[in-house]
Amino acid sequence: MKFVFLIYHDEKTLDALPGKEMQALVDGALDYDQEIRRSGHYIVSNALQRARTARTVRVRGGKATTTDGPFAETKEQLGGFFLVEAKDMDEACALAARFPPARLGIVEVRPVRELEHS
């Protein structure tokens, strides 16, 4: 089964980290990538730029409107995601808990839904 890990963190907490600590966190995340690649769980992962770089797009009545910023203004923001292969939810959660930034933020684990043509 495929699962996504949605990584949420408080960007202010990250911005306040000394450069060395931030780099240690990045290295930890990259090491984790390697580790779950070797164990065969990894499909893809991406870090996202800060929420303030986002644009939100809606189309109503055939007209597209674009607003600056993320869709939801929340204390914690989506900072990145993983797509992994795991046996079940328990295995996915155990895997998510080993992601080093899970010590600072939150990981939402959600199964992927396979869409099929009607």
């Binding site: 996504v4 290295d27 797009v57 993320p70 797509l83 959660c93 998510a96 939150i106 992927v112």
Partner: protein, 123 residues
């Protein structure tokens, strides 16, 4: 450059659709994925299971806590994402505005950040 298009929807509205409406919606979404694939813009697209299937994981002081449900209770929920390749933000927004679900929900477009390892990891 890579961008992620985060598709936010009101799950209740999606669930209230008739079967034929829901099928048409899925077909349209898959057709747009194919169109983006043909132009070389699509890296991947995935729909997510409803938020009630989510588990939220935290690790504090070495201890794991897992709670049922999504991290944030919001009126609209993340329902899927597309990872695309675009020349710039404008091109990414253009692509996002043609996602069929942009007519029902909201699409957040955000650039991907390449993580750079420190010197110790560069070999």
């Amino acid at each position: 450059m890579k961008y992620v298009c985060l598709v936010y929807l009101v799950e209740k509205e999606m669930e209230a659709m008739s079967e034929s409406e829901a099928d048409a919606c899925t077909d349209e979404s898959l057709a747009y994925d194919d169109a983006l694939r043909r132009t070389g813009q699509l890296i991947m697209a995935h729909a997510l299971a409803p938020v009630e299937m989510a588990t939220t994981v935290r690790v504090r002081k070495g201890k794991l806590s897992a709670t049922d449900g999504p991290f944030a209770e919001t009126t609209e929920q993340l329902g899927g994402f597309l990872l695309i390749e675009a020349r710039d933000l404008n091109e990414a927004i253009q692509a996002a505005s043609r996602i069929p679900l942009a007519r029902r929900g909201s699409i957040e477009v955000r650039p991907i950040k390449e993580l750079k390892p420190s010197a110790r990891r560069v070999r």
